[in-house]
Amino acid sequence: MTLVSQSAEDRGQNVSLRLIKTYPMEIILAALVLFLILMAPGFASTANILNVLRTVAMLGIIAFGMTAVIISGEIDLSVGAGVALAGCIVAWFADAYTDAIGGWSAVILGFAVALTVGFSLGYLTGRFRQWFNVPTFITTLALFAALRGVANLITGGFPLSTFPAGFDFLGGGYLFGIPFPVYIFALTFAGMHFLMKYTSFGREVYAVGGNMEAARLSGIDIWKVKALTLGLTGALTAISGTLIASQIGAGTGTTATGMELDVIAAVIIGGTSLFGGKGRIWGTLIGVLFLGCISNGMTLMNVSEYWQYVVRGGIILGAVLLNQVLERVR
């Protein structure tokens, strides 16, 4: 078909078809928001939207890192447990060192330790894959179980809540009318987007995930790339864990149960391929917003919690099917 022979109507149809093919999740998210504004009582209120953004922020900070991990061809199942561990480490330091060095110093020290632990665990997971050929699925599944245990060992099984005054601001406070975690979320988005698009490291992540051997034969240190993406995600998990501990005012071993599934779901809904090599940080942003809106909307519409689980499962499968179908159409 040539352009000349196309009628105006044809062209209009082509444009809208191309839009649907290029931005399927954006369009679905817009439709969902529109539906919720009309149908869910109170969805469009400022307070509610800020609430959704705060929830989304905790999830999204980790999901951006997870996107890089999945693009590099690996997976991290331990982020939920990692959140609990980070919260408990910060809480333990606040509990143990406030008297000696002051509340905020103790919290900062705890955060630094949590960050280091998070990064190291991720980094070592990547190196384990290199040294012993243990798939990251297995290593992080082991961490998924073990880290929660460690978190509970640290706190002795009870919530630790000796935080300095004002610590609750990090997770629960507002800056210029917007929840503080949303700023961290926005910063993480911008940073990860930049990293994946405008640095040679980002290019290497795509190359390693797209074809490991081709990347290796191009002189790329594939194991370093994988270990660093996992380490980065570990560090982001520690940041999110600290924010959550601040929000709920305690470090406990049971925080963020099942969060790893939501994080991975958001990445997949955003169009990142579990086979590696394909995906965008922008897509993950859409994915987390989508998940946040749908669960908030269902709660507002009094959908039972059990149905919410069913719907979420359906959405994950539906998003993947949609991507596969679009892949074929393109």
């Binding site: 405008y198 290019r203 074809n211 051997e213 002189g219 240190d221 394909k278």
Partner: protein
């Protein structure tokens, strides 16, 4: 299921081709092929790569259908539309790649997909006893003492090949196609395989035997049928022919194509020095020098160790012994990224699988090996990459339309040029070209050779590997011949003809 006894029939095992033609679009893979394969004999089928040999096998195996002409089996005209049809007509193929399941037992592999069953307490269960009894019968019938109950993974490659043939024979075919059955075997295992073939011949099974090893032909085949450029060239009796007659038939009057005049290479100070390099099971004690501006060809059959040698020098595989020096610096045991930094580039033989990241754009692939020099402080952008992309697209005449589209949308020849361009972007002083001409059309092939010659005259040293020996003779300034992992000869392409080179590749120097 019943296992019928071989029928005895005059036409049994007879295979006739009458004017069989196979076209793929405009390409004629097989042209008016007419030949009568006499029953009960071992027919070697010879032809260089792309001669139509594999098309012939595919037609017989029912994988593709002829465009015109007739194939007659056991005196009956056949038109196969699926591998199953070929099977029913009594033709079984043993492919080059083994198709056994390593974890399963020998007997189970032989009867895979048709396990015998018995009724026990009302349930239909697998009759393991019967299965192994029958498998043992089959094995001993072929003169083999292999335990039917042990897993295939416990067998040597040679024994596995033999089990594959026993499995094929359990279908009682009248015609057996053997596609390079010895390519992975050691010489002792080859003997065992030949004993089995002798036994089958004594039973009157017609065999079509494909190999690249000339010595095997004279050992096992009765006749040799030669095919070239899709045409039937002739069939000779092994008793009365000679290797040079067969090579002559395979290559015809191979005309040397035009190439720029060879330069005089200053062979004083080597750029790349390889000494005693060994990787157990792949190549042994390989030593050579490469000089500035020189194109060193490595000739050898598949599995001769040439690819493994290059991968090991590049640091992609571990080495067991020996040293590598590049521009006087010791690079023994370096990683690919250190090798790249030292000025070595490597375009691998299978560009689709390991040369390119198919899901990424042409531009990203072109820049993949030179992200360091392109990026400033780790930052990169299309604007910064653009000169690197444009330069290679222009220099190498890459036809890619939009460099933002995935590289998978390009033709084979253009993909190969992208792999080469990726490495030229690193400004290498030494390049390894492993099969750069495989699967690309004639025009792209010429362009790739021109690039190699052009870069050589600019001072780039390269190693050139190709299965096509004519190409090695044409492209290289000097040729090393590899055979079973050893360098067996060094020859001057201006003083060597195809028959000599082919002989060296197949037999090694000692024979």
């Amino acid at each position: 299921m019943t296992y019928s006894q071989p029928q005895t029939d005059a036409a049994q095992g007879r295979l006739e081709f009458r004017s069989v033609t196979k076209r793929y679009g405009p390409t004629v893979a097989l042209s008016e092929f007419t030949h009568d394969f006499a029953p009960g004999r071992v027919h070697a089928l010879m032809g260089k790569n792309g001669s139509g040999k594999s098309t012939l096998i595919k037609l017989l195996a029912g994988v593709t259908e002829p465009t015109s002409g007739t194939i007659s089996v056991n005196g009956k005209d056949q038109s196969f539309t699926s591998p199953h049809d070929a099977f029913d007509a009594g033709i079984v193929t043993v492919h080059q790649e083994l198709s056994l399941v390593p974890e399963l037992s020998v007997g189970e592999n032989i009867f895979l997909g048709r396990l015998p069953h018995v009724r026990r307490a009302g349930f239909r269960v697998v009759d393991w006893k019967g299965l192994h009894r029958r498998a043992t019968e089959l094995l001993s019938d072929m003169g083999l003492s292999i335990d039917s109950r042990q897993p295939v993974s416990a067998l040597s490659v040679g024994q596995q090949q033999v089990v594959e043939i026993v499995k094929a024979m359990s279908f009682n075919p009248s015609i057996l196609l053997l596609d390079e059955p010895t390519s992975a075997l050691a010489s002792k295992e080859v003997k065992q395989l030949f004993a089995l073939i002798e036994r089958l011949r004594a039973r009157g099974v017609t065999m079509i035997y494909i190999t690249h090893r000339m010595s095997e032909l004279f050992e096992i085949a009765d006749t040799c049928t030669v095919i070239r450029d899709g045409h039937y060239i002739g069939a000779v009796e092994m008793r009365t022919t000679s290797p040079s007659e067969i090579v002559g038939m395979m290559f015809g009057a191979a005309a040397r194509a035009t190439r720029p005049p060879r330069q005089t290479i200053d062979r004083v100070k080597p750029l790349l020095e390889v000494r005693g390099l060994t990787r157990a099971g792949h190549f042994n004690d390989v030593s050579f020098d490469l000089y500035r501006g020189e194109i060193l060809g490595i000739a050898g059959l598949l599995g001769s160790g040439r690819t493994e040698l290059m991968r090991a020098i590049f640091g992609a595989d571990r080495i067991d012994a020996g040293t590598v020096h590049l521009e006087g610096r010791s690079m023994t045991g370096a990683t690919p990224s250190q090798m790249r930094a030292a000025g070595l580039g490597y375009t691998p033989e299978n560009r689709k699988e390991v040369g390119l990241v198919q899901s990424l754009p042409t531009g990203d692939n072109l820049c993949m090996a030179s992200l360091g020099p392109i990026a400033r402080g780790g930052l990169i952008s299309r604007r910064r990459e653009q000169p690197f992309i444009d330069r290679q697209i222009a220099d190498l005449h890459i036809k890619c339309g939009d460099p933002e589209l995935p590289v998978s949308s390009l033709s084979g020849g253009n993909q190969q040029k992208v792999v080469i361009g990726k490495w030229l972007n690193t400004a290498p002083s030494v390049m390894f070209f492993d099969e750069p001409s495989r699967g690309v059309d004639v025009q792209a092939k010429r362009q790739i050779f021109d690039i190699i010659w052009q870069k050589a005259s600019d001072g780039l040293s390269s190693i050139f590997v190709s299965t096509e020996l004519e190409e090695v003779l044409e492209v290289a300034d000097r040729i090393l011949v590899m055979h079973h992992g050893n360098v067996v000869a060094e020859v001057d392409p201006t003083r060597t003809d195809l028959t000599q080179l082919y002989g060296l590749c197949m037999e090694g120097a000692s024979q």
